[in-house]
């Protein structure tokens, strides 16, 4: 494989890893924020314990999200310097806003939330998790603004062979951004809903003593999935007219992988929509918690929305080829002047490190999830980052 192929493979791999973690981050932080809101409003001990338990899984997942995000940010300049040379004035702006407004603030807020536990006023602490959620969504918005520009460039003029930004507002109303970001956000919520459902179902299969805790968690998970999936599907199909207008032939350009991926993604989306709505009546008197085959399906289903999200992402990005900036800059013309050996080394280094750390992170999440919530009398800190008092 030449340097171009290696660089593309590297981008696809690192983005996919990053995407797996940020999806759950965005979805789960919303669920945790709702749980903490109920805990703060009602003062209920079970809601507070739920916030801590699911919050801990969220924080561990975030660890890998931030690490892979750093690589994503550097990778444009590292391997695709032609992109910043040609389109940096336009494409760089939303990315800069993302890092300043979202990434920087999100991490600072999250740090305060982690260390403010039991130290801050409970309303201030609640405000922090909503600020974390808000900045996480802002992050998704600005990244998708940047990506929407690559799919359908707007708001620019060409001067001396490079792009200049003339209308930031056009980037924000770009049709390849608006519908796609809605699809992404509801996808993240679906991921979180299915995750919370699956972990709760696992505890019922293990005949947990924490019946009330996981009964409520399971309901939260099923309702989140049921409410998110109709909008997820709507925003998914809402993209077809946009694609037909601006990127006709996208599915063909994505090749057999992208085309088959589209079908599987749609199947998974409809399946999750159907089963979540079929489960809603079973929540009555918690019947579903005694129906083991259904509980098993809930556990097995956890990877499905992740897989669908990766397939959708592959279609979106492969279908843009051979363009990096659609109609303006070819992918091959944006490649940095780096030889294939250097590209191969970095590909192996990133892929190896990501794979090992992602597995380690998932093992930690699985262990914490399987261990269940802390006893009410002795709650452990929400993150290993917290100093013992």
């Amino acid at each position: 494989m030449d340097a171009l192929g290696l660089a593309r493979l590297q981008f696809a791999l690192t983005t996919s890893f990053h995407f797996l973690f940020v999806l759950l981050t965005i979805g789960l932080v919303t669920v945790v924020a709702v749980m903490q809101t109920r805990a703060t409003l009602t003062g209920g001990a079970v809601h507070l314990r739920m916030t801590r338990f699911w919050g801990r899984l969220y924080v561990v997942n975030y660890a890998m999200g931030i690490a892979t995000g750093i690589v994503m940010e550097f990778q444009f300049g590292l391997n695709w310097s032609g992109l910043s040379e040609f389109a940096g004035d336009v494409f760089g702006a939303p990315l800069a806003v993302e890092t300043l407004v979202a990434f920087f603030l999100e991490s600072t807020f999250l740090g305060l939330w982690i260390f403010g536990w039991d130290r801050l006023n409970r309303w201030a602490h609640l405000a922090l998790i909503w600020l974390v959620a808000l900045t996480a969504y802002a992050s998704a918005v600005w990244i998708m603004v940047a990506n929407g520009f690559l799919q359908h460039p707007v708001g620019y003029e060409v001067h001396d062979g490079v792009l200049r930004l003339v209308d930031l507002g056009a980037l924000l109303t770009n049709p390849t951004f608006t519908v796609a970001v809605a699809h992404l956000v509801f996808g993240a919520l679906t991921v979180a809903g299915v995750f919370v459902t699956g972990v709760s179902a696992w505890h019922f299969l293990r005949r947990t003593a924490e019946v009330d805790f996981f009964r409520r968690s399971l309901r939260t998970g099923v309702w989140t999935t049921a409410l998110a999936t109709p909008f997820l599907i709507g925003a998914g199909f809402g993209q077809f007219p946009v694609i037909a207008q601006f990127q006709p032939g996208k599915t063909e350009a994505a090749g057999p992988v992208g085309g088959a991926g589209l079908g599987v993604m749609i199947q998974i989306g409809f399946t999750l929509f159907l089963v979540s709505w079929l489960t809603l009546p079973l929540l009555w008197r918690d019947r579903v918690t005694r129906w083991r085959p259904v509980l098993w399906l809930m556990v097995i289903g956890v990877p499905l929305p992740f897989a669908a999200a990766i397939l959708g992402w592959l279609l979106r990005e492969l279908g843009r080829q051979p363009w990096l900036v659609y109609g303006l800059l070819r992918t091959e013309d944006a490649l940095s002047p780096v030889d294939a050996g250097g590209m191969l080394t970095s590909l192996i280094a990133f892929a190896g490190v990501f794979l090992v750390l992602a597995v380690a992170d998932w093992v930690v999440i699985a262990r914490l999830a399987a261990r269940g919530p802390d006893p009410e009398s002795a709650p452990a800190p929400v993150s290993p980052l917290v100093p013992a008092l």
Partner: protein, 283 residues
Amino acid sequence: MVEAFWVALLGLLVAGYFALAGFDYGVALVVRFTGRDEPARRRVLRAMTPYFLGNEVWLVAAVGVLFGAFPRLEGELLSGHHGAVVVLLVGLVLFTVAVQLRDGGWWDVPLIGGALLVSVSWGLLLADVLGGPGWLWAVGVTALFSLHGAVFLVWRLSGPLRARALRCARWLLAPVAVFAALTVPTTGPVPVPAFGWAAVLAVLLLGAAWVALRGEAFGWAFVATAAVCALPVLAVFGARDVVGSEVMAHAGTLAPLAWIALGVAPLVLVFQWATWRMSRAAR
């Protein structure tokens, strides 16, 4: 005018990253010399972890500004030093994950290994940009971050752990001063007066740190080593005319970005300050 704002903001973010994240890496580098057993190592690391998220994002913001406001520089800088940047990123990923997930001794491999890769590759990058010998900067920056981490621990810990961190810091002061002095004659063609003054200032600050450690003014010693960590960044900005307007984005990009940055900057400073304040109360 707008150009000067962006150069100043980029300088501030990178200098802030070195001064703050420098002690994150330093604490990891000296943790095995400071904490003899697992409970002690946990105490050592958890002196640093409350600041970790807030510290690392300075780099993220700096690269964001680099991309948005200096697009022509960003691609050239990163792709031009492909190998060193890849090593830096691998180190950052290992360190970032290990800090947040560490629940036992074996995580120290990615933790300390990551910190080492990060400091070595920053040394190599600085040497590359300034035209100095790579090995000197790799060793020097690693020693500098270790010193900064040790001084931070002296400030934040107490009892026998503080005593051991203090021994580490005393050990490291002289080698770092030698490194600062050696950079001047070995660095390539740079405007020597400015660069030489930076080295003189570094040595003076290290002397001040030594005095502060002796006088048990540990907070001031930390301020001094933080300033030494930020100095190489200022030296790069002073010695190399890296940020001319030809690498910058056009005014159509810079103007809206500047408004957003101006709006966010006070928020960031307030919440970073809040992090320090809350952790101080918890000590």
